[in-house]
Amino acid sequence: MPAYEIGGKSFEHDEEGYILDVNVWTEELAALLAEKEGINMTSEHWEVVNFLREYYNEYQIAPAVRVLTKAVAKKMGADKGNNKYLYELFPYGPGKQACKIAGLPKPTGCI
């Protein structure tokens, strides 16, 4: 199984780079994943990533886009609580790219 290596620690991931164990995630890993995705992590990116992890811990799934945009609106202001803003942060789609950086499994289905 392929893995990311950071300071002697390895994080196994699948064919597309999603880590296999959500519990081994660290902020250093997130930074590395973001770099691979070509994303410069700002505080807004971290807000989204942290919310994804909180939600996943409670519900064992990534939040629906509406749930995420609402949370973003609450934390960063109503003008940012929309899908378009999330795509600006994560151009390949908040559902997939942000989940990868947050260490969540890839969402599946017709999405």
Binding site: E15, E16, E58, Y59, Q60, I61, P63, A64, V65, R66, V67, K70, N83, K84, Y87, Y92, G93, G95, K96, P107, T108, G109, C110, I111
Partner: protein, 499 residues
């Protein structure tokens, strides 16, 4: 991220000058399913030792079980009518993506093992041994068919490539060569109840959030009920409707329609998925299992009717196979169709004045519609022939100021696949998805240019996700894609006109 050329769109849609490019897509294969995905479906975890014998045995079983399959394999005369009808051929130029060539990948092996001439004369009559190379070719090219059945419309013998592609995938699953995207999803349905793997608490939380949104936005207490026993209607909708944009706008539309019609309805956490990927992998057993979740939910909740949300292949399974798979439905109210499509439901209410819609609410929008392959070529809506084309258009027209159809060779029963159907809506096939979207993109670009179209409505979760993803590659905006019921959601007049 993209390392291939995006097709250039012609100004005139549906007139293609596809350049023959042998082997252009030979490199493309979806990720293999792992044991974790295969075993819960009853398939071997990985390629079995005696795979060749097992594959041929399974092929024999299928040919015996489905007379249609044997007829399709026996009757092709290579007339070529189908050759340039496949969006994947048109978008990639790979001759193995011509439907006849795709069929021949399977047909040649069938001929070798199941026909007297093939057994005796072998390659002289186009028969081939099932070698590892042939298996690899199957894996690649039977995952470059979205089972949209456009080619079969043009075949003088009515040969259905989709059925051959389903059979090939089924044979491969039986020797441990499954596709990750589909098999992982079906395993989630068995375990959790939907393709996303959305557990009940998350679903309940999401629906509660939608109730708040609609209350805040409209001032009306529109409910999104879950697992309500004794409700009249069970809504079965693709789980993408809970999760993604623009799908969720459609779900809000259904809820508003039910609210305004004053009917009691519920969704089910057990059957929280309309989609049935069992069809994509050609597995009757998986289709049966997934469908029977709906039966169990309907019985447990004691509903009288079943309505399906906007999902293309779900509607094929529901309309064409549900009675055989999960019937009889004698416990439902015989006064209503079993099942009913949400577009039928809304159309009927609009016609009878049961709900009122105001096109002004969608001011500035010029709509076209993408006929989903499975709705267009494998089902019907309402009672009149062609209802599956008429009803969506009537609903859209009632809700928007202007509607325009795309080129006639790209709509109705000649509609092109979105490029992501048939279990191919996965990132590992993005090159195919982008190239295969070309014929639809071309027709859409024309009506944008000539008619000022601003939005394209879709009635299938896969189409909506696929277009959202591929439109930007063709220089169009992802927000162009809307749900049919997203338009209804904007236009419906709440608080008036209860029956």
């Amino acid at each position: 991220m993209v390392e291939f050329q995006i097709p250039v769109l012609n100004d005139v849609p549906a007139e293609f000058d596809t350049k023959f490019t042998p082997g252009a897509m030979a490199h493309l294969k979806p990720f293999l399913a792992k044991a974790d995905h295969n075993v819960p479906l009853g398939f071997p975890g990985e390629l079995v030792d005696d795979w060749q014998k097992k594959a041929i045995d399974r092929m024999g079983d299928l040919v015996k079980r489905y007379r249609s399959l044997a007829v399709y394999l026996d009757s092709c005369v290579k007339c070529g009518s189908c050759a340039d009808k496949c969006h994947y051929f048109l978008g990639t130029g790979d001759p193995k993506n011509m439907p006849v060539a795709r069929q021949d990948l399977f047909r040649s092996v069938y001929r070798r093992y199941f026909t007297p001439t093939g057994r005796v004369f072998g390659s002289l009559v186009g028969a081939r041994d099932l070698t590892k190379e042939v298996l690899d070719e199957w894996y690649s090219y039977f995952h470059q068919c979205s089972q949209c059945r456009r080619c079969s419309v043009f075949c003088p013998y009515g040969i259905d490539t989709a059925e051959i592609s389903m059979a090939a995938r089924d044979v491969m699953d039986h020797i441990g060569v499954g596709m990750k995207y589909c098999n992982e999803i079906i395993a989630k349905v068995h375990k959790i109840g939907n393709n996303l793997g959305l557990p009940k608490p998350a679903l309940a939380d999401t629906l509660e959030g939608l109730e708040e949104d609609v209350q805040d936005g409209t001032g009306h207490p529109v409910r999104f009920p879950l697992d309500v026993k004794g409700a009249d209607i069970l809504l079965v909708t693709p789980s993408a409707d809970f999760f993604a944009e623009p799908h969720v706008d459609g779900l809000i539309g259904y809820a508003k329609v039910f609210h305004q019609a004053g009917v009691s309805w519920t969704m089910s956490s057990y059957a929280s998925e309309a989609g049935n990927f069992g069809m994509f992998i050609g597995s009757y057993e998986q289709m049966y299992k997934v469908s029977n979740r709906i039966r169990k939910a309907a019985l447990d909740l004691g509903v009288k009717r079943i309505v399906f949300g906007e999902c293309g292949h779900a509607w094929r399974v529901a309309y064409s196979f549900l009675n055989t798979l999960a019937g009889p439905w004698d416990f439902l109210d015989p006064a209503y169709p079993v099942p009913q499509h949400i577009i039928e439901f809304t159309y009927d209410l609009i016609k009878r004045g049961g709900i009122k819609v105001d096109a002004e609410a969608n001011q500035g929008m010029v709509l076209t519609v993408h006929d989903s392959c499975n709705v267009a070529r494998a089902s019907r809506m309402g009672t009149m022939p062609g209802g599956q084309f008429i009803l969506p258009r009537e609903v859209i027209k009632a809700c928007v100021p202007k509607f325009v159809d795309m080129h006639p060779d790209t709509i109705g029963d000649k509609t092109f696949c979105c490029g992501g159907g048939g279990g191919l809506l996965t990132d590992d096939l993005m090159e195919l998805r982008i190239k295969g979207a070309m014929p639809r993109m071309e027709a859409l670009a024309q009506v944008i240019r000539d008619e000022g179209v601003t939005h394209m409505a879709a009635m299938c979760a896969i189409c909506k996700s696929q277009f959202t993803k591929v439109l930007p590659y063709y220089g169009m905006k992802m927000e162009m894609i809307v749900s049919v019921h997203g338009l209804v959601s904007n236009a419906i007049q709440l608080g008036t006109n209860k029956i």
